[in-house]
């Protein structure tokens, strides 16, 4: 395979890289003198167009290929995930257009795009080395995005914590991956699986598995590797937090599932009730259970909505980890649907939080009092997002949970052993109603000071939020819009 073909195969990624550079260059050269808002608009439009072009590119290039000696793979499934990723990126860019926290527009948008490139490569990766490199590209961009509000000391602190924690986790993961290389003599996922087959679970492999789980546990913010998340979400500029919670999560979960299911195919063990067998599923089961419990409980007492959303993100990571338990290729379907719709609702919620921050100065729960009177459209959108996160039918969040739980319970005889996890998930999601409704109560019910003029929401922000809210409703009513395509992908990839 020559480089031209490689370029063609990864044209979407290339387009996004070029877009990042264009945004950077345009901003640095010709827009220096302009007003920030205008620069953000122009830059945002360029970035969105670039992402759209990348989506178009994905739709035209060949659907299935294995390149660079099996390091990277392109299949309908990865293409689908990439489209979802790019869509989430576009929405992130759109909600950051109103931002006031920085004047370095080109750098900010460029970093978002570069992080997106990292995620896209991550999705395609078939080799642990490639996984690590892509992961680092993503992470480094995200650290910087977290630190972007230079006027706020909390932003810097959050970024530092995120960076230190992330560095440590990356070190653990790299250690784990090198152990695996030592055990199997290969970095390719399929080769690793072949080498591990039939060997049983020796302690070195156990350590390697746990260390890999730690690396990804950090990425998806699962307990007990979540400690960075509340601080980072709270301190980071709101669009950055939204991006960390949405796109990054989708990509990480996808590759997490891939490594566990393909790489450690022989070592899954069992987390079934009373028939526990060591392997990676019990580890993930423990992490998932802890995430669901801690995320949902800790969210209750939060005063800051961004922190609340951070804990909610932890809880949702728990639900999605539950999906990994199913350990079958159909789970990709539920997982992608869940992660995408969750990302959509989260970006929307953070977008609304950003609006409140812009007008009220902080994201305290009390700042949301009377929001429905000040900005009825945004308040309505927020209601849709939060109810979807809580999992109320017919919104997308409900069907996400439904598909996920159904997938966990579906296959074969051993499946009902996982019932304890599903019951736990349902119980904790009942708890989650409490804190989501707490926010809605502030918005709709509590009567506060009449500061009608305090929030001035631009029509553009309203349109973006409304579009996302409608998408959440539509995807809930017609899950096939998303899942139908995926089903076809899975069927074709066998």
């Amino acid at each position: 395979m020559n480089y031209l073909e490689l370029l063609k195969l990864f044209a979407p990624e290339t387009i996004v890289v070029v877009t990042a550079l264009v945004v950077l260059a345009v901003d640095l050269t010709s827009m220096r003198e302009l007003e920030t808002r205008l620069r953000f608009s122009i830059g945002g439009m360029i970035a969105s167009v670039g992402c759209a072009a990348a989506i178009l590119g994905i739709l035209v290039i060949p659907e299935r290929a294995n390149t660079v000696g099996g390091m990277m793979a392109v299949s309908p499934l990865t293409q689908h995930v990439k489209i979802c990723l790019l869509a989430l990126t576009v929405f992130t860019v759109l909600i950051s257009i109103e931002a006031k926290f920085t004047s370095h527009v080109g750098e900010y948008l460029g970093l978002i795009l570069l992080a997106t490139v990292g995620m896209m490569f991550l999705v395609s990766a078939q080799d642990v080395l490639m996984v690590f490199v892509s992961l680092e590209l993503t992470s480094l961009s995200l650290y910087t995005l977290t630190a972007f509000n230079k006027r706020n000391i909390k932003s810097a602190e959050a970024a530092l914590k995120y960076f230190l924690f992330g560095g440590m986790a990356a070190a653990f993961m790299l250690f784990g991956l090198s152990l695996i290389y030592g055990l199997t003599g290969s970095t390719n996922l399929h080769a690793i699986a072949t080498a591990l087959a039939g060997k049983g679970l020796d302690p070195l492999l156990v350590v390697a598995i746990v260390m890999t789980v730690i690396g990804f546990g950090f990425k998806v913010a699962a307990v007990p590797f979540h400690l960075w998340a509340p601080d980072a979400y709270e301190g980071a500029p709101t669009p950055s937090a939204a991006f960390i919670a949405s796109g990054s999560k989708l990509a990480s979960f996808f590759i997490f599932a891939k490594i566990m299911m393909i790489g450690f195919a022989g070592a899954e063990g069992s987390a079934a009730f009373r028939s526990f067998v060591a392997g990676w599923t019990p580890v993930i089961a423990a992490v998932a259970a802890l995430s669901m419990i801690l995320g949902n409980l800790a969210a209750i007492v939060q005063r800051s909505v961004k922190r609340l959303l951070a804990y909610s993100a932890i809880a949702h990571a728990g639900y999605m980890l539950l999906g990994l338990m199913a350990n079958s290729s159909e789970i990709y379907l539920s997982l992608i649907y869940y992660a995408t719709t969750y990302g959509l609702a989260t970006i929307g919620a953070f977008g609304v939080v950003a609006l409140v921050e812009n007008s009220m100065g902080d994201d305290k729960l009390s700042s949301f009092v009377g929001f429905s009177k000040r900005a009825p459209v945004a308040a309505f959108a927020m209601m849709i997002f939060l109810l979807s996160l809580a999992g109320i039918p017919p919104l997308a969040g409900f069907f996400g949970k439904f598909f996920l739980f159904a997938a966990v319970l579906k296959p074969g005889a051993s499946s009902l052993g996982l019932l304890w996890l599903v019951v736990l998930a349902i119980a904790t999601s009942a708890v989650s109603f409490y804190y989501y409704l707490k926010v809605l109560k502030q918005i709709y019910v509590v009567n506060g000071t009449d500061r009608k003029d305090a929030t001035n929401v631009s029509w553009f922000a309203q349109v973006v939020l409304l579009v996302m809210a409608i998408l959440v409703i539509l995807l809930g009513c017609f899950p096939n819009l998303l899942v139908g395509g995926l089903q076809a992908c899975l069927a074709s990839s066998g």
């Binding site: 156990v206 007990p224 601080d231 060591a278 580890v283 423990a286």
Partner: protein, 701 residues
């Protein structure tokens, strides 16, 4: 199978679609719903013509009945568990289809004029279309069940349309009366359906030899006997006939039909003169094989047909005598309809399908004509219906007068030129030759005399002499109907009667032509209609026939002459003048005018019993069941109290404590979040150790 047979369902489907659509559009889209209804009717008419042409072409084949059956639902396993529905195209269907769609189209057009000022114009056309759909459904259905469904739909549409002006209490009451009275017949009808299904195992009329009107099933039913020595087939036939009696207003279930005249006049013309009431006659014609089947060699007519003939004959003369003493223009026509339906039944009972159906068709045309003419008169006289307050209208409404006269001649059976003469004569001829008794024939002749008499009386009072209505009133109606004034119709005074708009007179003229011309298809000289419907015993002008014709002509002339002598010679001058007939001995006029007191009799017996029974039930309900319910309610309240206490003290307390614990747990969890990054990193190390140990020890078990 021909396309038209396969797709015969389109005929009722078109008006049904129109009904559905105009039910959905807002009330103000009058033009849309009217044109939709008329368009769908014209479409149905064209399809019917096609079906008729097909039937004509196909006639004379071995099997003139073409059917299309399909499985509707499966309620039990096996072939017997499949319920089949279907439709049939035979001469009977074809003739009825053309008649109903043709008259329906005319009446729809007429209604646009008649109902022009009504607020609920759209709703009216919705109901009319619904009615037309159901009626056409009855005609085409090849299954007694499908027929029954449409039958009930027709009843519903009739109910809705009689009560169309529901703000009038009399209209609401009449709608209720019609619905309940026909329901009494329907109960028996349904019993008959059940019994038939039990006996034959199918409700399809024709199914390639397996239908319930075909030889196998009929033979099975005629050989069994049931109560009173009746053959099962005859018993079922009588039950079905009771259903037909309800719908066709046969004595003693006729009471609803005159009251039904409370509905708008087009409704009376369409439903209560031309089509729906004829459905009963049609039903008898449809199940005629069942009624007529008898044991081989038995010479007597079957009990079912005897019942049909007797009920028909009694109704014919009974209703005609009531019509003599009525003063409401529509009521006279209503009783006349009842009487004519009696003739049709008599024709069916004594002469067979063709005789009854011939009168049904001709009657549909001239009775629709009469009703629409009456509607025109009522419209012109500012909603006046009392014939004593009319008079001399021929000068104001020439078109209406001429067409009405044609209808009246046809109904009276004026010789040779009018269709009614030929169809009525066929019935009288059949009754004359009936083997059981000659009494129906004499009743029929008496009815013919009365018919000629009361129609002459009506004509004389309405159209001859001079106008007796009030003339010096404020011009209220003209203000309401600018349409009429704009059309430039010559109006004398502000309040004089006026001719109706073109949309109303055109249908009248068309119908009048039909009322004359239709007689030609069924004369003894050329009995095309009879042979088309399958009766082959045309005799031509034999001595018998001519003798009978002369007799009936004399009778009709006697009626006409007496009517003219009593009412035409010397017109009444005031409204309150007593009727000439009041001089009759023994208070006969009072009997006629009060409809023999049948309504009062029902009031005294059935309704009073019903009310008494209702009171008894209410008492039982209050005194006996009420106490039970009361006890039950106390029990429920006590149970509620207990569970309330349980809720408050056990569940809520527990829930509150649980919630508190959840909150405390949340606080504990967030305390983990110290903000010190060193501790965070240490947690990773601890987690690694714990998880590894967990796996290794866990796996060792």
């Amino acid at each position: 199978m021909a396309w038209i047979v396969k797709n015969l369902w389109l005929v009722p489907a078109l008006p049904l679609l129109a009904a559905g659509l105009s039910a959905l559009v807002p009330q103000r889209s009058r033009k849309f719903s009217a044109s939709l209804a008329i368009g769908s009717m014209i479409g149905a008419f064209l399809l019917s013509l096609w079906a008729f042409a097909h039937a004509l072409q196909h006639n004379g084949h071995e099997n003139a009945k073409e059917v299309f059956n399909f499985a509707w639902l499966q309620f039990a396993s096996g072939d017997a568990g499949i319920l089949k529905l279907g439709w049939v195209l035979d001469p009977l269907t074809a003739v009825m289809l053309v008649m109903v769609t043709f008259i329906g189209t005319l009446i729809f057009i007429y209604s646009t004029g008649y109902m022009a000022h009504d607020d609920n114009f759209t709703r009216f056309f919705t109901f009319l279309s619904l009615f037309a759909a159901a009626m056409l459904g009855i005609i085409i259905s090849n299954s007694l069940l499908l027929l029954f469904m449409c039958w009930e739909l027709v009843g519903l549409a009739s109910y809705l349309l009689i009560g169309f002006w529901y703000h009038k209490p009399s209209a609401a009451a009449a709608a209720k009366k019609a619905f309940i009275t026909t329901r009494i017949g329907d109960v028996c009808f349904f019993l008959g359906i059940m019994w038939l299904y039990h006996q034959a195992g199918t409700l399809l009329f024709y199914d390639n030899g397996a239908g319930c009107m075909e030889q196998t099933a009929l033979l099975k039913m005629v050989t069994q006997t049931t109560y009173f020595g009746l053959a099962v087939s005859a018993a079922i036939g009588i039950l079905i006939f009771i259903g037909a009696m309800g719908k066709s207003g046969q004595f003693p279930l006729h009471v609803w039909l005159p009251d039904a005249m409370e509905g708008p006049t087009p409704v009376s013309a369409l439903i209560h003169a031309a089509t729906m009431v004829a459905a009963g006659v049609f039903l008898v014609a449809r199940v005629y094989p069942l009624m007529a089947v008898h044991m081989d060699g038995a010479a007597v007519e079957t009990a079912a047909l005897q019942a049909v003939a007797w009920v028909g004959a009694i109704t014919a003369v009974f209703a005609a005598s009531i019509a003599v003493a009525q003063n409401d223009i529509k009521r006279i026509l209503a009783y006349s309809t009842v009487s004519q339906l009696g003739y049709m039944m008599m024709g069916l009972g004594t002469g067979g399908v063709a005789v009854g159906m011939f009168h049904l068709i001709t009657h549909a045309f001239f009775k629709a004509l009469l009703f629409m003419g009456a509607g025109s008169v009522i419209h012109g006289c500012h909603e006046e219906q009392d014939i004593r307050k009319m008079g001399g209208i021929r000068n104001f409404m020439p078109a209406t007068f001429l067409t009405y006269a044609v209808g009246m001649m046809a109904l009276s059976g004026f010789p040779v030129f009018f269709s009614g003469f030929w169809s009525k004569d066929a019935i009288l001829h059949a009754a004359h030759g009936w083997s059981v008794s000659h009494l129906p024939f004499y009743l029929g002749v008496a009815g013919a005399f009365l018919t000629a008499f009361y129609m002459t009386r009506q004509m004389a009072l309405v159209f001859l002499g001079k106008y007796r209505g009030e003339k010096s009133q404020s011009p209220r109606h003209h203000a309401k109907s600018p349409l009429v004034v704009l059309k430039g119709v010559p109006v004398g005074g502000e309040n004089d009667p006026h001719e109706s708009p073109r949309s109303m007179t055109m249908p009248l003229i068309i119908l009048a032509i039909c009322a004359i011309a239709l007689g030609a298809i069924g004369t003894p000289a050329w009995p095309w209609f009879q042979s088309f419907l399958g009766d082959h015993h045309g005799e031509g002008f034999t001595y018998d026939v001519i003798q009978l014709m002369v007799t009936s002509t004399l009778v009709v002339f006697a009626g006409l002459g007496l009517g003219l002598w009593l009412y035409g010679r010397k017109q009444r001058n005031t409204v309150d003048e007593p009727d000439v007939l009041e001089k009759l001995p023994m208070g006969m006029h009072a009997w006629f005018a009060n409809k023999y007191g049948i309504d009062e009799l029902y009031e005294m017996t059935v309704i009073r019993f019903n009310a008494w029974f209702a009171r008894v039930c209410a008492t039982i309900d209050e005194k006996f069941l009420g106490i039970l319910v009361l006890l039950l309610s106390y029990f429920t309240v006590a149970l509620g109290w207990v569970s309330n206490a349980f809720d408050n003290f056990v569940i809520n307390l527990g829930f509150d404590q649980g919630c508190e614990r959840v909150s405390r747990g949340g606080k504990l969890m967030s305390r983990l979040q110290g903000g010190r990054v060193q501790i965070y990193l240490r947690v990773i190390g601890v987690a690694l150790v714990v998880l590894v140990l967990f796996l290794i020890w866990g796996g060792g078990k």
